[in-house]
Symmetry: C2
Subunit: 405 residues, 2 copies
């Protein structure tokens, strides 16, 4: 087993692990066997009628995870079809899948079909042959899995035998992303460098404070043995003139990027807080590629404005009014914008020409990565508010340059 210190998940990371298998494969009892020893049930998330049930656990030493216990693969009839659709929907947002088969019969058509689905979605997975107290898995199935490079484990949920091994196998499948503290700005400058942060102070700024993203970047500059120069946009030019050696990086609030991009010489790397957080919270190359889809929007296209939480009042204006207006002006197209808030995308995501996601201040990195991945899996370009704003302001290439190198 890997060291706890290495596998411990950073704050805000909550892996989604989904169990799939036929009705009698023993998914629920395997989950209990795996988690019974060192686990606390944190909460039950109620699903809709056909939705699989989500359970939040602390899976030591990995940290917080959500297990989805899905309906049986062999469920038939109309309800069964709905349930299969629901299972697929869960797989879209799954980090690790666990295919649970009975050791006796081994891999039937049902398991092979779901394995094919999982592979198409590029979800890391393993096959668990359960009920080894009753029978051993067929040698031919083990050989097939080995040939296909599929990781397997054997367990008996009834006796508890092998449950630890399954847990360990799950942990080895955890994406590296989940085990790494993401970097905000620390890789963009060297020891002793100067980094300039441009922080407009408008009337809305809370008195006596700086907003958290600004403080986080300041702190990373200090942690990286560099010097932070913080300045409003009005004093930026003079501040740059007062430095003998030019800064290694200028980071600005997106609101003032046009003025700042005029004041910062072309050879000085310039980016925005939004860009740093798009990378910190998500998959910046995918979000940057998604922003290019703005150029391809056609009359009548529908754009999904996706917000992570429904109580995010401040974002209404930017997501509901400003960005739609800017994109309309920039493209000159007749577009429809739909707002969707919550932990799920609409069922008919494929109907949208583009997804523009909020800055996900309320989401952990893994959750945002999962949402980006779901768009990619479903073939819909995805970007976020900050990246989209830089795109329509014509500064996207410049603000990406320091970060995507």
């Amino acid at each position: 087993m890997a060291e706890a210190s290495e596998t411990k998940a950073p704050r805000g990371v909550r892996l989604v692990i989904t169990l799939v298998g036929r009705t009698n494969a023993g998914k629920s009892s395997l989950l209990n066997a795996m988690t019974g020893q060192d686990v606390a049930i944190v909460s039950d998330v109620a699903g809709t009628t056909t939705d699989p049930v989500a359970k939040a656990y602390e899976l030591l030493p990995l940290g917080p995870v959500t297990f989805y216990d899905t309906a049986g693969l062999d469920d038939t009839g109309e309800l069964g079809a709905l349930r299969m659709a629901a299972t697929k929907k869960v797989l879209w947002r799954t980090d690790i899948a666990v295919v649970v088969a009975e050791a006796g019969p081994g891999l039937t058509e049902a398991e092979r079909a779901v394995i094919a689905d999982i592979r198409r979605l590029d979800v890391p997975f393993l096959v668990v042959f359960n009920k080894t107290d009753l029978a051993s898995p067929p040698a031919s199935d083990l050989a097939w899995c080995r040939d296909q490079g599929i990781r397997t484990a054997e367990a008996s949920a009834a006796t508890g035998q092998g449950a630890v091994a399954v847990k360990e196998a799950i942990m080895t499948l955890a994406p590296a992303e989940a085990l790494r503290e993401p970097v905000l700005a620390g890789d963009l400058f060297g020891e002793g460098d100067t980094v300039v942060c441009v922080v407009p102070i408008d009337l809305a700024a809370p008195k006596g404070r700086l907003i958290l993203p600004q403080v986080q970047v300041l702190r990373e500059i200090l942690d990286g043995d560099a010097v932070a120069v913080t300045v409003k946009e009005r004093e930026l030019e003079a501040a740059l003139g007062n430095l003998r050696r030019p800064p290694a990086l200028v980071v600005t609030d997106s609101q003032v990027i046009l003025k700042v991009s005029g004041d910062v010489p072309d050879d000085v790397p310039l980016t925005t807080f939004s860009t740093l957080f798009a990378r910190y919270k998500g998959d910046l190359p995918t979000l940057a590629a998604g922003a290019q889809a703005i150029d391809k929007l056609r009359d009548g296209d529908t754009v999904l404005m996706a917000e992570a939480c429904s109580h995010h009042v401040q974002a209404d204006d930017i997501g509901r009014v400003k960005i739609p207006r800017w994109i309309g002006q920039y493209t000159g197209r007749d577009l429809h914008f739909e707002m969707h808030a919550g932990h799920d995308f609409p069922d008919d995501l494929e109907r949208f020409a583009l997804v523009i996601h909020c800055g996900s201040c309320m989401l952990g990195r893994m959750e945002m990565l999962r949402r980006i991945k779901e768009c990619v899996r479903r073939g819909v370009p995805v970007t976020n508010y900050g990246v989209a704003i830089s795109k329509v302001q014509g500064v996207l290439d410049r603000v990406l340059r320091p970060v995507l190198r």
Copy 2:
């Protein structure tokens, strides 16, 4: 009446207003008449047996105040003496005193004695002649007050007549301090200046954050149209070398003042966050004078380490161990240190050669000013942790120079 916008108390300010008078003068009913209209009772603070009762009010437009309704001045017997001592104790921490007399008899020996006490303590006060529905105040008393420069008001708590005038008179007595937003650093630099903040990042510093005092100073620099350079002590010298025009001010964490005072040229103003907050939260000249009392400590003297709150665990080490050790080393004297936490000083405050108060992060400015004033009234030198540390580190004169000018 003054404009609400001018008299509105800044956050954290809570004036203490104490009513004194003889048993039947109608203190409580006057308080009710004054506050009944636009006041909400926020809480009742339980006093000890002989303590006056404190009531928290929102006295519009002044803001939050605490009224102390004291025992009768003419209370006799042993309990009466205790109550008089308690009243005196309350006067020590009073911002405004209201002497309530009955209009009929006017000012008796009891009122004249307490007026003399209040004057010795230098507490702003007014005399209210109550019960004007029954009689008018003696012309000779009104003349005497006028001669003495004592403000008077007339009221009938029974009818409510004059209650508003009393409230208005109280407001005109509110110390200017209570009506002014205190300044942290904004007066120490000009527009376009550079201010360097030295922020050591030790292991105890919370990840991804800066502590609030640092952020508050940064914000004042931006609000003042200046440029903030934030740097750890290790990179300070290089950061100063990279500036074409020297900074208007360097502000450092006290922990690294010795290294910093070596790296900052003598002609560059240098102070500490503690010094700025000693001024922001209290009366810096008095705290600076109090620190000089460290030089006068003699063998056997007792020093009071006063903390504003008992749950301030982090400060234990600095207040209970480090400062006593540093002062012992600095003075070479055999000293006793006593720790006292809570909203009151010990009854026998006069027994201490010096009071060293905590940084009062949990106290508002007015509360800290009141505690300083109480020490002054009782003849005990008072300083605070930050100022005392600069004193024993031998840098007090230098860090005071930019601030006490």
